[in-house]
Amino acid sequence: MLRVLLLTISVLAVAHAELCKPDAQNAFKVRLSIKTALGDNAYAWDANEEYLFKAMVAFAMRRYSSKSTTQISNVLLCNMTGRVSFWFVVTDSSKNVTTVPGSEVEAAIRMNRNRINSAFLLNDKTLQFLQITSTLSPPVEPSTPVWLIIFGVVLCLIVAGIVFLIVGGIRKHKKKNKEPAERENLEEKGEVNVTVENGIPCEVLDLKAGHINGVFAADDERFTPL
């Protein structure tokens, strides 16, 4: 009895070794970069993590093929290195000592990549399945490009400034045109409101500005005696 048991175990071991080895058929290499992803919060890769990995792969296979025949024991890991990298195969429990075709495994992993990544707190770059390329996510494009919005704001400010300055200029120009026109009107009417300062009409001072000093032309009486 014991001999039979030992024989089956050794056969299985040999079979497993045959199935899972580097570059075997339907085998995939996995590489994890835990320290790069998590820094100080990095966990150590041990047998428990390996168990979780086998469980995730079995989960992916079950979900993909929707037949609940894949067991955790069907997933074989081998060639564990300190990098953390290893090879794995998925055996078919119905057909003895064969592996599930690589295309099926690849499709299953692709479909559940996000779930597998999250289980290990990693992403596509830090949990690499070397033969399985990840589909790149499309860039998030807002409906109106952001730069167009900013450009609109800038342009509105500029146009507002230009309009303000032009209107200001036109108003100043109109005021300048109105003033001499008003002065002409008053002179025609002859009703000039003569402003008198110190007994001398201001008009006199204006006309003779710079030539004759109207103040000095006045009487000496104007000056307060010392």
Partner: protein
């Protein structure tokens, strides 16, 4: 003022306008580059010699002339001598040509500015290709910053003869830039005088912020030591003297008539000698001040590039040998490499390792648009809070360029205002017409091949004619108007006769220097057929640029651009002779 001429609100506004005109994009992206390629600190020696014997005398000449005659460039030179009216027309033409292409550079700055409000910055990531299996090929082969500049901004064609189509996003930005220029120059110095307080002072603020931040970045000291370590052997190369002379000349924005226009609005009794020395020294000090943050950031970028190179090599090695993570760090990289080389030579050779050399990264020197839009933008993506740094950087570049544009536009605007035909047009209308016509002509720079044309304008219209004009300016004042008369005019304004230094430089040293620079410049340009570097994704050496030669019709345009302002000088003399 009795003659109704507009004037500056105060002296500070005038000095600030001159400083803003002189301090432009070249102070940030050409001076540090020249320092780097010409032996670091050693470049300062020919630079200050050129400043002393060429820059300051010419600057004083232009400021004194404008202030005394109180007219724009055309009127001023007509007053100096009717035979020299052509010099004024030449400076006016040069002003027009420079304004056209200078504002297009500002268009690019504005485009980057409005793109800086996104997360992530659009020049930091490569877009995906059509079937989303990988990154865009052109972007992947070069870098994301190169792709954004050459493809998303310029949409450049592989050849100057292929014009391509007008790029609508650049047209929008060009319209906005000319609208801003119109807004600021709408009433001449009345409005630019207010705007200059912001556009001339803000760059200093940003440079200081970048200085403080730049010095705190890793690798900043490497960049700075690399920049300033003097290599006195470089002084033996005549190229360094030529570059110093041309840099001083173009940096002070001489011979475009803008300075004459600015000083013509001064009161007659103003010390133009002190002004000239002040403006020149502030301009040079700004160049030096700007090169510190620029080189801190470049040192940071080189260090980051070096670390990335090392990290990529390390990752390849630990993947190949299945070593645990963090077993090889940057510090023990060389030790590990020698160990692995001796133990597993074939396996190491299988891992395609790149040689990482910090000096090589530091040696990558770029000037001009490459520095601002490729190198600096990449460095900004590496800094935390890159949006803020990008916005600050591009606002600073925009202000630097805008204050120089004010001077260029004044050089066009002021002489036109004095012509009889435009005496009655309101200023707002005239400036609007100038800006509109310039915008329409500058549309040709928004073609796909536009950046090649900007290079052509910069090399031929914005360089050679100015040397010729400046030469005739000095000769005209020194020998036609006569130095004695000019010294008397200056004495009338400043209260003291120009001393021996000014007399010597105006009469002999500056004209001689200009002649030598002109001859050297022409020799350098013509001793081999003019060529340009084209961005061609189909070139086998891509992402290196392809060296192409200009076709004959382009060469004739180059010659036309260089000759157009110069031809006014003899034409003006002939015209007066015939009259």
């Amino acid at each position: 003022e009795e003659d109704g001429r507009p004037k500056w609100d105060n002296k500070f506004q005038y000095i600030l306008s001159c400083v803003g005109f002189a301090v432009g994009l070249g102070n940030v992206w050409r001076f540090p580059y020249l320092c780097q390629i010409h032996g670091g600190g050693a470049f300062l020696i020919p630079y200050f010699i050129a400043l002393l014997f060429e820059g300051i005398p010419l600057l004083h000449l232009e400021l004194a002339l404008g202030q005394y005659v109180r007219k724009g460039s055309i009127g001023a030179w007509n007053t100096v001598s009717p035979y020299l009216g052509g010099v004024g027309a030449g400076t006016w033409m040069a002003s027009v040509l420079v304004s056209l292409y200078y504002n297009t550079v500002l268009t690019w700055v504005m485009w980057y500015f409005i793109n800086s409000f996104q997360e992530p910055l659009p020049w930091s990531v490569c877009p995906l290709n059509e079937n989303r299996t990988g990154l865009n090929e052109e972007c992947y082969e070069s870098t994301a910053v190169n792709y954004f500049w050459y493809r998303k901004t310029l949409n450049i064609t592989p050849d100057v003869t292929e014009s391509g189509t007008l790029q609508w996003w650049l047209i929008l930005c060009l319209a906005a830039c000319w609208a801003i220029v119109y807004l600021c120059t709408i009433r001449g110095i009345e409005t630019t005088g207010k705007a200059i307080y912001v556009t001339a002072l803000f760059p200093y603020l940003v440079l200081t912020i970048f200085l403080i931040h730049g010095l705190s970045l890793p690798g900043a000291t490497d960049g700075l030591t690399y920049l300033f370590t003097p290599n006195l052997n470089a002084l033996k190369n005549p190229r360094i003297w030529l570059d110093a002379a041309t840099q001083i000349f173009f940096s002070l924005s001489l011979a475009v008539g803008g300075l004459i226009a600015f000083s013509s609005y001064n009161p007659p009794k103003n010390d133009c000698e002190k002004d000239a020395v002040t403006v020149a020294i502030v301009n040079s000090l700004t160049s030096l001040y700007a090169s510190i943050p620029v080189f801190s950031v470049l040192g940071f970028k080189a260090t980051t590039g070096y670390w990335d190179c090392l990290d990529r090599n390390i990752l390849n090695i630990i993947n190949e040998f299945d070593l645990p993570e963090e077993s090889i760090m940057r510090q023990n990289y060389t030790a590990w490499i020698s160990f692995l080389n001796s133990s597993y030579p074939e396996k190491i050779a299988g891992v395609k390792l790149k040689t990482c050399d910090l000096q090589e990264f530091l040696d990558q020197s770029v000037s001009g648009t490459g520095l601002a839009f490729i190198i600096f933008t990449q460095a900004i993506t590496l800094m935390p809070g890159s949006q803020a740094w990008a916005i600050l950087f591009f606002t600073m570049l925009f202000c630097l360029g805008l204050s120089s544009m004010f001077g260029n536009i004044e050089g066009v605007f002021t002489p036109l205002l004095e012509l009889q035909v435009f005496k009655s047009t309101p200023k707002e209308l005239l400036s609007g017409i100038i800006c509109l016509i310039s915008f329409l002509i500058a549309l040709c720079f928004t073609l796909a091949s536009g950046s090649y044309w900007i290079d052509i304008f910069d090399s031929y219209a914005g360089s050679l004619p100015l040397l010729v004009i400046a030469f005739f300016e000095v000769i005209g004042v020194a020998y036609v108007y006569k130095i004695k008369r000019f010294s008397k005019d200056v004495k009338q304004m400043t209260g003291r006769k120009p001393n021996l230094y000014w007399q010597m430089t105006w009469k002999f040293i500056s004209p001689l220097l200009l002649l030598i620079v002109f001859v050297a410049f022409v020799t350098l340009q013509t001793h081999k057929p003019p060529s340009y570097a084209a961005w061609n994704p189909k070139y086998e050496g891509f992402p290196m640029k392809e060296e192409k030669v200009y076709p004959p019709w382009v060469v004739s345009i180059c010659v036309l651009l260089a000759a157009l302002p110069c031809v006014f000088i003899p034409l003006g003399a002939l015209f007066h002779l015939i009259k």
